[in-house]
Each structure stands twice: as structure tokens, then as C-alpha cells.
Symmetry: C2
Subunit: 381 residues, 2 copies
């Protein structure tokens, strides 16, 4: 008798209709080097929302199905649809990372060693009740850590560590980060405090300024303040930061950061250069919290760059040994440096509730949810 369990799926039809649903998928027996994980916590990261919602405006979505078997449909705008031909009419599982308990293990020694352990998994399809994954995709959590505590062991921690490593490898000595009050931002703040790296935190409200200062941040600039540009130039002058990681992307912020970096550099200039400072100023856009075009003013000299940044190519660049080194640090500091917090825990069915979607769909700081695929439902059938 085949055993099955629930999995959350996202489907974009050629017609432009997005359909979210729960589906029953087979639960395989683990092969020699695999383990079967009962997933108990998987965060809804901004990086999951792109695959999940496919750019659709979910405030206009329609609720279908039943409470236990909900379905949600919405329209994908034509502009977004163009880039999605390769996923048309394929029902796709979602959820980059999560954590749970190993309930079955393959015959290999490495797999058997994980039996009963709580592990974090970077495997995709984590919005599933059960995931069968190779041993290498598991990170054993420190004793006593719950799945909820280990659910975000990869995306945010490796991204934050990747920013620091990129800073060093590209010859910068300090950092700027936007959306700095986010889980990722607080994590980066803790890493920088620990490693002695000057960090300029850009946030969007006075309350976020206070919360970051309370966490020991020395440089916090509020983009909603009338003195923002002045404050940012001061902070950049003091820290010498010439590299920024920007979660927002759309709008003027990336350009403002470059402009302020150039202003901070030109303060120190001893002679006029018609091409501006020769020091390279870089903004890496790693998120898309702000929709709409990125606007860059030209008062930044000629030594500047803006570009996309993703953790996966970075991990490929540093190779398996580098990744292992970072993962060990994450495990060792899981409850301190790499701690995350969540607004709440929801079931797979609740993840397809329009009211809940309205909250997590905006990826606002302080509204991150954890999905517990085994919250309300029993085991596999």
C-alpha cells in the first residue's frame, strides 16, 4: 500500500491563472544514503514568495475548495507571465528550507546516525509533511534545539555570512544593509558586532531605529527621516563603507546609497576629479521587497556598480569546504547569532487562507510566519 502525505503546490497556467493547492504525494522509503524527515517548521521567506505567488496580486485572490483542502486562485500579470513560460502547467512544490525530525533512515552509517535527530534541511519542497533527502542536505541541530529554532538555518544565515565574505573578497572593509530590522538584518548586525565589522543599518521607521540600537547597532539610519541623506553620509564617512546589500531594489534607495557613498568619498578628496572618486562603490540587490524600477542618479562618479546577488552562486563560488565552514558556525551559534523570530506558526491549510496570505504576502518586517506541515494533521496514511 502506497503511503502519501500533503504538500503545498503552486501552479501557473498558460492562461495566466495561478493556483495554490494542497496535494497528496507519495512518501518514499529512504535509499541507503537518505533520511525521511517529518517536517515541523519551514519559514516563509521572501525568496519563497516569488515561486509561490508568481508575481500575482494576492490581495485580489479567490478562495476555493474546503477548509481542509483549500485552493487559492489569482491572476499573474502579463508582464510577470512572460518570464514564466518554463513553469507553465507544472505543479511546483515550494519551501526552500525547514527543519524536522528524522523518522526513518537508509542503511548507510551516515543515514542511521541521523535517526531520531532534529535536523535542518535545505532541500526545496519543504512545505510538505515529509521530505526524503540525502544525508548531505541535513544539518544536525545542537542538542535541545527545536525544529522551530532550526527552521531558518540556511537561507538567512548563509546569506548574512555571504555578505560578510563577499565584502572581504571584494576588498571592502565595512557594510551597508537595507531592511536592516528584518530577521536577516538582525542576524547580520550580530555577525558584524561579533566580527568587528562596521555596519550601517538602514531601516524604515523610528521604532526600527530603536530596536536596532537596543541590539547594539552603532549606525542606524531611518530612510523615513528628513535628515536621512545627511545621516547616511555621516555614517558612510565614519565607517568607510563602499558596499551595500539591498533587500528592496525598487525605487530610489539603491541610488541614494551610491550617491551618499560618493559624497562621503568626495569629502575626503584632496583634488578635483572630473570622473568622481576612483574608489569603487557597489550595491548588490539581493531581494525585491520594493517593486517598480530601480532609479539611479548619475552623481556617483564612474566607479560604481549595481547588480543582483544571490546566495546560491556565492556558495558555489566558495565550494563545499567553504559552505561546510559556514554551516558549522550556524549550528554552533544557532540560538544566539542566528536566532530568528516569527509572528506565528501556521498549518499548510492555513497557509492557503486569504487572511493569512494578506499578512505574510507583503513580507513586512515582523510578520514572518513558520509553516508547520504537521500542525493540525496526523501522520502519513
Amino acid at each position: 500500500m502506497e503511503r502519501t502525505a500533503l504538500q503545498l503546490r503552486s501552479l501557473v497556467k498558460k492562461s495566466g491563472e495561478l493556483e495554490l493547492s494542497l496535494t497528496r504525494v507519495p512518501v518514499p522509503d529512504p535509499a541507503a544514503n537518505e533520511v525521511l524527515v517529518r517536517v515541523e517548521a519551514a519559514p516563509i521567506n521572501p525568496s519563497d514568495l516569488g515561486l509561490l505567488f508568481a508575481g500575482a496580486d494576492v490581495t485580489q485572490a479567490t478562495q476555493l475548495g474546503t477548509k481542509d483542502q483549500p485552493r487559492v486562485t489569482a491572476r499573474v500579470p502579463d508582464a510577470a507571465l512572460k518570464g514564466m513560460t518554463a513553469r507553465f502547467d507544472q505543479s511546483m512544490p515550494v519551501g526552500n528550507e525547514g527543519a524536522g525530525v528524522v523518522i526513518e533512515a537508509g542503511s548507510s552509517e551516515a543515514a542511521q546516525a541521523l535517526l531520531g535527530k532534529t535536523v535542518a534541511v535545505l532541500g526545496g519542497a519543504m512545505y510538505s509533511q515529509y521530505r526524503c533527502v540525502p544525508v548531505e542536505q541535513c544539518l544536525v541541530l545542537p542538542a535541545g534545539a527545536t525544529p522551530a529554532e532550526g527552521a531558518s538555518s540556511f537561507v538567512n544565515p548563509l546569506t548574512a555570512l555571504g555578505m560578510v565574505e563577499t565584502m572581504r573578497s571584494e576588498g571592502h572593509t565595512a557594510l551597508v544593509h537595507t531592511a536592516a530590522a528584518s530577521n536577516l538584518g538582525r542576524m547580520l548586525n550580530r555577525i558584524c558586532l561579533q566580527d568587528g565589522i562596521a555596519l550601517v543599518n538602514i531601516v524604515r521607521t523610528p521604532a526600527q531605529v530603536e530596536s536596532l540600537r537596543a541590539l547594539g547597532a552603532a549606525h542606524v539610519c531611518d530612510s523615513s527621516s528628513p535628515t536621512f541623506v545627511h545621516d547616511l553620509i555621516e555614517a558612510l564617512s565614519t565607517t568607510g563603507a563602499t558596499l551595500a546589500f539591498d533587500a528592496i531594489g525598487g525605487g530610489k534607495l539603491a541610488g541614494q546609497i551610491l550617491t551618499c557613498m560618493e559624497a562621503a568619498l568626495s569629502r575626503k578628496a584632496t583634488q578635483y576629479s572630473r570622473y568622481g572618486s576612483a574608489t569603487h562603490k557597489q550595491v548588490y540587490v539581493y531581494g525585491g521587497l520594493g517593486q517598480g524600477p530601480i532609479e539611479l542618479n548619475r552623481n556617483v562618479g564612474m566607479a560604481w556598480g549595481v547588480g543582483g546577488w544571490l546566495v546560491t552562486p556565492f556558495l558555489q563560488k566558495i565550494g563545499p569546504a567553504g559552505v561546510q565552514r559556514l554551516k558549522q558556525r550556524v549550528a554552533a551559534e544557532l540560538k544566539t547569532t542566528f536566532a530568528s523570530s516569527y509572528a506565528g506558526e501556521i498549518s499548510l491549510a492555513e497557509a492557503l487562507d486569504l487572511g493569512t496570505i494578506a499578512i505574510y504576502g507583503r513580507s513586512t518586517t515582523g510578520h514572518k510566519y513558520l509553516i508547520n506541515p504537521n500542525k493540525d494533521v496526523g501522520g502519513h496514511h
Copy 2:
């Protein structure tokens, strides 16, 4: 008795006033390894206009002085003024490059060998009747070449060659170029034809399409055409170009190029990637023909970059031997690959005439002037 000659100067006062004038400067005796060049042709490149006009709106300029000793004043906008504190109240000479005849030489063998030769000079301050420069800054023109033919031996040729070398060193195999009907664009087109590199030429009028096709260009896209985006995607698909050099900067074009590159790449994608194509797409902005902010849409995946590009840091990167190799090619192909054309030849005084400024100040394709600092005036006094 000190001898003097005329030099064009640009002065930005702390008050925000720009003043262009002709001034008399001493003509030095060349040191052992120097030569004195009577400058007979110096182009007004877009890269000279920044230093010359300091961002002032010269359509609102005021003509002062006399016909022989003209002065022009204009206001530098406050926004532009911020980045110029380092040049306040310093009268600055202008003119990156030019050519002329060596009329005096220092005692060294190398200097003596240049006596009577027609040379191109990359030395700054070339809008001067006489320039005393080290031998190393001279490029001896081929026999029979006039100063006018050699006036643009450096900025455009080394920039065009730099684009091709950058393409190779960063792992791209084809190029996109904007403002492709310019002197630089036609030069790049000839280099690419000769070197067998696929080049996508972006121009702004149907007439420019014709002129480039007449020069053998295979891929020409007119940004004023309603089918521009479609045409560009086709050309990018055919050539596989993932690197563009953009002379314009302001506006939507740089972003459109990235969008079309991503569209061309996603056509060839065999499976859906939520982050778009993993192939890096790059636009280097090397000019500022378009003022206003650069607008980048986000439908380009995550593997993209936009940044400033200048020939000088590129030349530093390839080192003296690399530069020498490029210069030799320029001299050998001066009248073919690296030929330039001009709308007219003007004197130093004419360069400060408001009517003339109104033409060359816009740096429109087909309106490039050569300054001949010895056109109307006699020798030095």
C-alpha cells in the same frame, strides 16, 4: 623675455558661476625628454564637456568679453555643484587629446627624433596653442597623416578597443553598443567586423540604421522604432550578446537592454528557474549623453550588473605593454579602422561663441567639432 600663448580655461566659482575664457600661459622650453607641440587639432569629446561646462545649462549662458578675448558665463545647478568643491575657484585647462607638430625638442635622443613630426598627444590641456609634453605621451602618426586625422587617436580608439578587450576578459562573446552611429560607434563597428565579433548596434533614428548598414553592420536596432524591443531580443538571440556598453546612461535604455538579454536567454531555457537565467548580463555605462536617472526594471533575473566604465582604469589594468599594443594598432589603422569625421574646425575663440556652443554642447551624433588652437591666430609671442 617670457613667451606666452592662448589656452582655454574653465572655472567654477564657489558661488556656482561657471566662467569659460581664454588666458595667456607661459610656453616653457622643453626639458631633456620633452617636446613642444604646436597643437593644430583637438576634438571636443563628450568626455571633455563635463570638465568644460561643469553641468551648467549652456543654453542659458551669457556672452562677455570681445570677439578675440571672449568669455562665457553660466550657472552650475546646485545639484551638480555639490560634487565640485575640489575644483572651486581653480581655473582649469581642458581638452583630453589632440595632435600637432613638434616644433622644439629636448636634448634626449627620443625627443630629438620627434622634431618636425606630426604627433598625437594624450595629455590634457590640449585646447592650448602649445603643449610641452614628455615623449611618452606622444604617438607618432603615420607618414602623411595630418593633425586633424590624428586628433582623436586615443580617447575613442582606446575606448573602443577597451570594450572588445573587456568583453574577452569577462567571458562574453558578443557586444551591444548604444549611440552606435557616433564616431566611436562606427569605429567599434569596424573593429568588430575586422575581428569577427558579433555587434548589436543600437541607434536612435532610421537614417542612422541606414548609415550603419552601409558600413556593413549586420545587427542594427532603432530605439525609436515601435518594434525596438522585439528587434533587440532577436538580435540578442542571434548574437548571444550578454555585455553592453552604453553611452547614454539616463533613462530606460540600459534597463531595456538587460530585459531583452534576459528574454533572449529565457527563450533558450529548458527548465524554469525562479531567479531567472544564471548567465550574467552586464551593462557598462561609459557616457552620460542622457541626463536624468537610470531606470532599471526588475524582470532581468538575479544575474545582472550595471556599472560605470572608464577607459583610464581599464588602461591601468592592462598595463604599459598592453597599452602600447593597442596604440600601435591605432597608428597602423589610423586612416581606416580608427578614422573620425567632424562637423567642422573652430578656433579657440569660436569655441567660446554661444552659437557654436549650442551645437557642440549637445554632443549630438554628427556635430563633433575639432578645435584648431592655431586656426586664426599667429604663433607665440
